[in-house]
């Protein structure tokens, strides 16, 4: 049973919560912490900086601020409080094809 009590990686925690909340058409959760080693916010855990790309119908009717708020709410105060940085790219189902990344 030991394996079951092991702490879930934060990447999986984020993915699970967003899957449940939005049933997204597209979801990518990337741990970018290694790119920020030694920067402010790096606590040595290797789980400080994340980037999420999500596309879901639920965002279609929402403005930019409301979209991010919806994601923050789905993740919950505790999880958001535990991570240092969360980059978000949020698309509604009707949004045009994403631009090339800057």
């Amino acid at each position: 049973m030991k394996g079951l009590t092991r702490k879930m990686p934060i990447v999986d925690e984020i993915r699970d919560k967003l899957e449940q909340a939005f049933a997204p058409q597209r979801l990518e959760v990337v741990n970018e912490s290694h790119r920020h080693r030694g920067h402010s916010g790096d606590d040595g855990s290797g789980e400080t900086h994340f980037h999420v790309t999500i596309r879901a119908e639920a965002f279609s009717a929402l403005g930019r601020v409301a979209r991010e708020r919806a994601v923050h709410t789905a993740l919950g105060r505790d999880l958001v409080g535990r991570i240092h940085a969360l980059g978000l790219k949020i698309e509604g189902a009707q949004d045009g094809a994403p631009r090339d990344p800057a």
Binding site: S40, G41, R64, V65, E68, R69, A85, G87, A102
Partner: protein
Amino acid sequence: MADAQEQIRQTVTDNDVVLFMKGTKSMPQCGFSSRVAGVLNFMGVEYADINVLADEDIRQGIKDYSDWPTIPQLYVKGEFVGGCDIITEMTLSGELDQLLDQKGVRYDKAAADKIRDANA
């Protein structure tokens, strides 16, 4: 706590554009704050920079004020516009120009176009 809320309200009321950030506009201390300050600096927007690292009450207070868990936070004419991702996207899409036009805030349109050209 109430004091911090009142102080924040006063600051975003008294200044057309306010950026709550980690560090200052000339010496940002976080990559996300640095990105937004860099955009505003380059676009020649006049704004007040509030360093949340200098005041723990403001650092927590601004998150409560906007119900937004992260910093930086940009306010235009008292209204919360967004954090780093939103400001970046709005800059590249031209929505930030539109917002500043609407609110009567001066900025260098050619510089904004230059940012978009460089990221096209």
